[in-house]
């Protein structure tokens, strides 16, 4: 019972939504153009006058009806012209029904444009939104020419299924498509500002320039991230970014990186977790990450340690490393393991007190992997800091 009632309501609503019940009047109007002369002849009105309805619906013959023809142009991006179609298809029977009825329905079972009928006629054998990229322009004008559409209309555009492909955001996805069909297809829904939502970091690809400017295009938000940006991508992005930073620059500007990778001392938590200031010794001693990629030891680490009293102050002092009684004598292993940490508090001359061959105690600092011949060739001056002019040959 409920189902039948619901069905009846739905049918009733659909009929009401149609406004004029064409099917009920099929016997009265054998020719569509008798009421819609503008569909066949240029300069004529597309809609009938209210007086023509009142000829029957006068309250005596039939109940009165209220009908007002549309006076405002429909907000649409269709490039359709009734007269042109009528002229081009004058030899085809039931011309109007060819677009305004479902296949197999009677001539006067009229409804709004049945898109699939348009596609059938134009040789497109797939669903509307799956139509080839070259086909959009057949029926639609570019967004910039659809002046009547509002931002709300644009926001309600449905995305083609191709846009859901995980690869669509890549260069070989929408990038390749845009190079082929930017002006003909993409422009149906998009304008340059849409692209700028992501292509903000560098000069936009040339294909973007083929689009015209239309601020309404930002009503469609470019929200999907590339497939590579899964969870905890922040952890994994380093290697991929190093492999091809130009790919990142397609969407990201430098400020995006600096939200986390800020090379200044006054930044708060970003790349690092909350409270990292307090726990940074453990991460820094054994380099959880390469600190010096973002922080200069002199400008960042040492200046802060200086203000906190954590520097040797020009002369090697005893007393800070107080858990090991002979730390000064046996610091070598700790130094080779955490040299970056050492230099955040100590200057070179601190070490030369003992490690220099010029006035020092001649403790040899060279360890595993040291290649004297190569370093001598590459930068002889470095050798002279400790050895003076008498740099050993080996």
């Amino acid at each position: 019972m409920i189902a039948v009632a619901s069905l009846a309501i739905v049918v009733l609503l659909q009929v009401r939504a149609q406004g004029f019940d064409h099917l009920q009047h099929k016997a009265l109007f054998p020719i569509c153009a008798s009421c819609h002369p503008g569909a066949a002849r240029k300069g004529e009105a597309l809609w009938p006058e209210p007086t023509s309805c009142a000829a029957c619906h006068d309250g005596t013959i039939e109940k009165t009806v209220v009908w007002r023809p549309r006076t405002i142009a429909r907000r649409t991006n269709l490039r359709f012209d009734h007269v042109q179609h009528a002229t081009a298809a004058k030899d085809k029977p039931a011309l109007c029904a060819g677009c305004h009825t479902e296949l197999g329905e009677p001539r006067m079972a009229v409804r709004g444009t049945v898109v699939q009928r348009c596609l059938d006629c134009h040789g497109v054998r797939v669903a509307h939104l799956a139509a080839p990229d070259s086909a959009c322009g057949t029926c639609h004008v570019p967004l910039v020419r659809a002046a009547a559409l509002t931002r709300g209309d644009v926001a309600r555009f449905r995305a083609p299924p191709s846009h859901a492909n995980p690869n669509f955001l890549s260069r070989s996805g929408h990038g390749a498509v845009s190079r082929e069909t930017m002006g003909a297809s993409c422009a149906t829904c998009h304008a340059r500002e849409f692209c700028y939502q992501c292509h903000a970091g560098t000069a936009p690809p040339r294909a973007v320039a083929w689009l015209s400017s239309d601020p309404r295009s930002t009503a469609i938000a470019a929200r999907a991230a590339p497939a590579s940006h899964g969870d905890n991508f922040a952890d994994r992005h380093g290697t991929e970014a190093a492999a091809s930073s130009t790919r990142c620059a397609g969407c990201h500007i430098r400020a995006d990186c600096l939200e986390c990778h800020r090379p200044n001392a006054a930044s708060g938590a970003g790349y690092h977790p909350d409270g990292f200031l307090a726990r940074h010794p453990a991460a820094a001693y054994a380099r959880e990450a390469s600190c010096s990629d973002c922080h200069n030891v002199g400008a960042f680490c040492t200046t802060c340690h200086t203000r906190a009293g954590l520097v040797a102050g020009g002369v090697l002092r005893s007393g800070y490393h107080d858990t090991r009684q002979f730390f000064l004598a046996g610091h070598g292993q700790a130094a080779r393991q955490g040299l970056e940490s050492c230099v955040s508090c100590h200057a070179e001359r601190d070490c030369l007190t003992c490690h220099s061959a010029l006035g020092g105690r001649r403790f040899n600092p060279h360890g595993p992997g040291f290649d004297p011949g190569r370093l001598r060739r590459k930068n002889f001056e470095m050798c002279t800091v400790c050895h003076g002019a008498a740099v050993p040959q080996r």
Binding site: R171, Y196, R247, G275, N296, S318, G319, R336, D371, N379
Partner: protein, 495 residues
């Protein structure tokens, strides 16, 4: 010169459709902290401390250099207050009459209002980070001016020019750049006094750099190689010479293999390297990898000659979206340094270490996010163990509020500095309109230093931060931050 400028102005094409984008990020902080201060006492004044070692009469443990007439110790210094303000501006201009030509500038201004020199990074007060003219087309990009190149070898800053040519269809790209280099990790030349706070040796002239890179990007992977040489123009000796290679392979959807390595041609040894297998699906994201880390030192310091040894690590991490509203995460790393060949029986030093972290993020309602984590790490030099938690309320509106807290136990290996730190604070964010954002944060560090002498100072402090970000542009789309940025996951939940 004036005639030249006048002619250029007269002959310049009309500035039709000129566009710009400006982003200003200003951050003000109020901080106060207490540091250490080195002090000394005559040997004749020392007494025997509670532990049997030498100490000052008021209880500070001291170290007495052999034969010296005095002993040294560190006592708590005075509380130092700072009120630093740091503003960064990013400006891009285009539509200058030639398609593809744009101007980019990024500058940073820093000032400590207290004038007490308590905050690092405020000298020099104005820094130009980027400032270049770019011409970009589908096939080539050319830049001239101050710029930063980021690649396998780090962020390379220089004043000079660069050219990148590419074949987009084949995914090929090659770059060549060169000029006068900047110091690593900062937009200052190596000759800047700001890089020499403890009067270390310093180069007298800037290095000349020459870099080149080539890469291929495809749907199944990327391959990229970099070469960089830096030369001291005064002596014609190398400052550094390195090569690096990075590869990414995407054999199947959700799977990736990433790896890379760099080699120091000047020192003749391998630097850092890593190889990781990654899996990123809707429910599970995981990676397993191995890495090696060795620091890089320029050759105009002597540090490279001290033979820093690398460590090798294996690491894994997994993130599971157990339910749509709950995400669990875990990560761990174990590492061991190579033999330093400097071990002595005098000092016992840890040679290996590990790090681990567990956490969970729950969003029971769209506006609410709860996060909790536990981390523990142990290694040479320092260790830490701690917990943290946060609650974020971010409704579908222009504001968000986060309350967070943490506790941390952080012993050091080479100094009696075991301490327990409690940290709690809040962050608030409001965006009154698109392109304008204000943030307010306050955090309290409350520390209990456990030391067997009076040097157990109170490092506790408040830090208050006020931040404003303004982004404007020449049309309405430019008022937004890039959506890519807005989509970036925030907080530790996503790391």
């Amino acid at each position: 010169m004036k005639r030249l400028i006048l002619a250029a102005l007269l002959l310049a094409p009309p500035l039709a459709a000129q566009g710009y984008r400006l982003r200003v990020d200003g951050r003000f902080q109020a901080i106060g902290y207490r540091g250490l201060q080195l002090d000394s006492i005559p040997v004749t004044d020392i007494v025997t401390g509670p532990g049997g070692g030498p100490a000052t009469p008021d209880g500070f443990a001291v170290r007495c250099p052999s034969g010296a007439p005095y002993c040294l110790y560190f006592r708590p210094g005075p509380v130092r207050h700072g009120a630093p303000f740091v503003a960064t501006g990013d400006l891009a201009l285009w539509g200058l009459g030639v398609r593809g030509v744009s101007v980019h500038a990024t500058a940073r201004a820093a000032l400590d209002f207290t004038g007490a020199d308590a905050w690092p990074g405020t000298d020099p007060a104005l820094q130009l980070i980027n400032g270049y003219v770019e011409y970009s087309s589908e096939r080539a990009t050319a830049r001239a001016g101050r710029q930063q190149h980021t690649n396998r070898l780090g962020t390379i800053g220089f004043d000079g020019a660069g050219l990148t040519i590419r074949d987009g269809r084949r995914g090929l790209e090659a770059s060549l750049y060169g000029g006068w280099g900047l110091a690593r990790g900062v937009a200052l030349p190596v000759t800047s006094p700001a890089l020499n706070p403890i009067d270390d040796f310093q180069p007298r002239r800037r290095q000349l750099i020459l870099g080149m890179s080539a890469g291929w990007s495809g749907s199944r992977g990327d391959l990229h190689a970099d070469y960089l040489r830096e030369v001291d123009p005064r002596s014609d000796y190398f400052v550094s010479e390195r090569v690096g290679v990075t590869a990414v392979v995407r054999p199947a959807p959700a799977w990736s293999l990433t790896g890379g390595a760099d080699y120091d041609l000047a020192a003749g040894w391998w630097g850092s390297a890593e190889a990781t297998v990654g899996y990123a699906a809707r429910v599970v994201t995981a990676s397993l990898g191995a890495r090696r880390y060795r620091p890089h030192f320029d050759l105009w310091t002597i540090w490279g000659a001290f033979s820093p040894v690398p460590y090798r690590a294996i690491q894994a991490q997994v993130s599971v979206r157990a339910m749509p509203q709950v995400q669990l995460r875990a990560r761990g790393e174990r590492y061991r340094f190579d033999d330093a060949e400097a071990e002595t029986p005098l000092v016992d030093v840890e040679q290996s270490g590990w790090r681990g972290e567990l956490g969970a993020t729950a969003s029971p309602a769209p506006s609410w996010t709860f996060d909790a984590g536990y981390h523990r790490e142990f290694g040479p030099g320092a260790a830490s163990v701690g917990t943290s938690a946060s609650v974020t309320y971010a409704p579908e509106g222009p504001y968000a509020v986060t309350v967070h807290g943490a506790s941390l136990d952080r012993p050091l290996e080479f100094r009696f500095s075991e301490s327990v730190l409690h940290l709690y604070g809040m962050d608030a964010r409001v965006e009154p309109r698109q392109g304008l954002r204000f943030e307010l944060g306050a955090v309290r560090y409350a520390e209990d230093r456990r030391r067997p002498d009076p040097a157990a100072m109170d490092w506790g402090q408040w830090r208050v931060t006020l931040r404003a970000i303004l982004a404007i542009g020449s049309s309405d789309d430019l008022l937004r931050l890039p959506p890519a940025r807005r989509r970036m996951p925030g907080g530790r939940a996503a790391r």
